[in-house]
Amino acid sequence: MSIMNKNLKRVIGCAAAAALLVSLPAAPALAAKPQGASFSAVKLEPVRTKEVTYYKPGTATPAIQWVTDKNAPTFLPVGVTDDVTSVVKDAEGVYWIGTQNGLQRVNFDEEDERDIVQYFAGPRYMFDGDDHVTALASDGQGGVWVKNARGITHIAMPFKTLREKATAYEDVIQSVHDRRGMTSDARFTFTPTDAARGINYSDGTFTSHAETSDNDGLWTAMYAIGEIYRYRTLLEQGGSPAEVAAAKTAALRATKAVLLLDYVSGRGNGFPARSYMLTSEAGAQTSDGTDFGFQNQNGFWFHPVMDGSPNPNGIIPSMERVDEDNQPVEPIGYSIARVTKDAMTKIGGKLFPSGGDGEMNYNGLTLTADAVTKLNASRPADAQLGDDVYVKVTDSVQQVLPVITSATNTKKKPGADTGTSAANPPLFQLTVPVYEQIPTFFNDLFPESAIRDGHIDMSQIVYKADTSSDEVIGHYALFFAADEFLVGDSPAPEMAALKGIIEQTTERMTDLILKDDHFYIEDATGKSTLWSKWFAKYFNDTTGAMEQRPEWASNVGVDADGEDSLSYGFEDAPLNALEVMSILKTASNIIGKQEYKDAYDVLFDASGYSKEEPYFNGKGYIDMATEYIDRRLIRQATNAYGINNNELVTRDNYEAAYAEAGDDIEDRSNINATLHHDWTQYINYSDEELAWFALYPLILQENDPAKRPQIVEAFDQWYANEVREENPYYTFLYQLAHPERKDIDLQSAVRYLDRQYEYQIEFPVQTNRQDVFYIEPGDRDDYKQTNYVLPPDERRAMKNNGNPFEAEHQAAGVYPDYDYSSGSFVVGFTFTLPYWMGRYHGIIKE
């Protein structure tokens, strides 16, 4: 393969990484602990792990001596036990207190004070979610039998090591989540080995109903990084050859699944697809089976046509490709935009307060003017895009969307036309050239039926475009981890091949972002995707002018007329700045191009970022990265100002602001948070997760004494809230950012792993409880929040993009015939990534 040869000749510039992370094959255990680290690894202990069996009425259980005595001796005064229904004190002295509102395990001997009382409510623990306990019985082994009016559950409490828990999550990932190596949340059905034994998820078979996800790249990257650490940890810390081999297989499969997304379009420019399906998968079909029928999926989908038929359209300028001699490269096929709702209707909002009607001022799927001009050259004179075929946006603005039908054409804002077919095709359907086959490196991810003549049959694929920065940063974090820890210095041919792919795609994607200095991912429309914008104007249009206004002193960004003037990307700037830093750092280290290094250095330019024309993309972005808290406060106060009829919200006029807001939860939240100067009420928890992906390669690669402290300072701002979450995902990286500190709360992070529920099924949970205070809903939510984080096994299973303080009252009583044999699973990488990362870097040890 030419890729491999190219790779073998290349010198890798990763001196900084090597300085921090010496990873020799024969290195002693914990060699990956950062130099100068002062912290000690937390020794992990086996922990009681809740395993529930569900017995519907009629299912046989062992003989149980039920206790229905609420007056059993307890420490509780009788005056407070009105709602207590049954109390058991087991042989270990643990009280099980059944009430009308769930079950409590009370163990004053519990090592961690926070675990003394543990709560069991909702359908995860109570049959059919009926929290009214009617009887209890000890199982004699630390667990308990629980009876209610609906059925019986057995809550066993076996001791498990965290390593065993990690294996259990891996098993579910392989049986439920894996979709040709991709791992996203997935629905499942469960078949018990013997229904007479009740339903216990460790005693039966899962069937996967995994489907396409908007973020297949990001989620799979998260899993892959964890598996890479698993491989590396076992390799360096004495795993058996079989364990190392299994870990390597899993890491390689997941890594390949992500990298495939960078090739699946065949565009040859590093464009990362959000996701892809085989045409045989549910959701990939169209209403009439042709590319002209309607596909009922959200998003922007393409189907490669590889049968030699001519592309019905011209090639837009930005998708033309030339070889090293500047000669046009001939496409080997073309992909046609599927007729989806978004392809027909996604106009998007305006981006720039300073005005303008050009396509770049709309956050939609519009084609560029250049693209329209080029396409019109090969279209009939009476079917010209923009003149005869277009979608009217406003009186002065019309757009050419990727799909326009006779029903969506002209003079109106479009609704989706679901009635198209081969006999009634769209008037316009965007195409994009296919320049190359998917490398055979990826063949083993596919079933035999999708391989033709030794290659993956691209015509059996539909892929999802309009890819976001969320995806891109996931890919780059994996480029770093795979290059550093999976390939490492392995001479194995498969690793050399992997390295070649990593290098090629890193270079292509970085060049795509930096092309024409535009700082975005360019799609088949010729413009940026909706959510991959890293150019300075997007973040700071009119910021320079706003700073001159008196309102700015009150964190309010408005123009001379008092209107909200914050640029569309203003609040995203601190995250997106870190993303650009991470992208360029990783690209510099993997590829070693001076161009990338120079672009990275400009990010730290002391003259700061551009706030007015002319915008200099990338310059001084570090100063945006360290405005994370400030920009939350500004966005929030500016919202409150707008809600309050363009008046500052103060303690003197908040009642007027309340009147303007009415009962709107979000508006009230913005007003109160502004009064309270509480930036945490404007947190997007998904952004916290994404910031980890951006920070992770930076923290591990950047040792420059001037640059590293600035990156760490940005992380400190994110961590000001993340510390409340006690999530090892954040804690362990924070420890690596501050290797000299001994006071980081690793114990709480380990407790988080201890208390993670083994089967991360999305059960409704009970959040009306007396052991928390509530915080008002944040800007993005309509539910109250708890004032400290509850242990994971007492709250809803969620990835790290959810708000862990979420106190949405869900379990609203009994769920008649609750379906325990199907549901939705959250991917176990929330456990496996921090577990193996912590093991590898010497933060935890078994």
Binding site: G79, D83, E113, E776, K784
Partner: protein, 178 residues
């Protein structure tokens, strides 16, 4: 300010004492144990209490209950809040990570706190405060009638870090030395 959980110590001494203990029996308020209980109005508490973690927490909580912008019914009436729980009477903020009770589901208990040495469990209800010595299950009641509380409607108990508690009630604060 943050109120961190202290690592557990002295954990093995207690369990034996629990086994076979009699149902809770009530004793009169202590006369000799520690100093006499001090009663404050909210205003007095806000001016007179000091800066220890516990005192700061008391004052912070009083700040929330006295501020309409933290009162669910006035601040954000659209939010689905439990109506019958003492801990849902006020919103708090992210800095206030006090746990109002050990028990998620004892509706008769408004608030509870365990001494850090795990010897005494304090329970606050609509009828005053009860201290339970876990070794013996001996209960001691603290009530307004005995000048141990400002009123009997207990909202929040905060450990003073030693043997005593601050009992915040509807109309005042009692510092009970235990």
């Amino acid at each position: 300010m943050r109120f961190k959980w202290k690592p557990a110590v002295l954990i093995f001494a207690l369990l034996a004492g629990l086994t076979g203990a009699a149902p809770a029996a009530f004793a009169a308020p202590p006369v000799t144990a520690g100093k006499a209980t001090v009663l404050y109005t909210y205003d007095q508490a806000l001016t007179k209490l000091g800066s220890s973690d516990a005192e700061a927490a008391v004052k912070m909580y009083l700040g929330f209950v006295q501020d309409a912008t933290y009162r669910p019914a006035t601040a954000n009436p659209g939010v689905d809040m439990p109506t019958d729980l003492a801990n849902a009477k006020t919103f708090v903020n992210y800095e206030f990570d006090v746990k109002p009770s050990l028990f998620p589901a004892l509706r008769g208990v408004n608030t509870s706190v365990l001494d850090h040495n795990r010897k005494n469990l304090w329970i606050g209800t609509d009828k005053g405060v009860t201290k339970i010595e876990l070794k013996s299950n001996k209960a001691t009641e603290y009530k307004t009638a005995d000048k141990q509380l400002v009123d009997d409607e207990v909202l929040l108990l905060i450990s003073d870090g030693g043997k005593g508690v601050f009992a915040i009630t509807e109309s005042g604060v009692a510092r009970i030395y235990g």
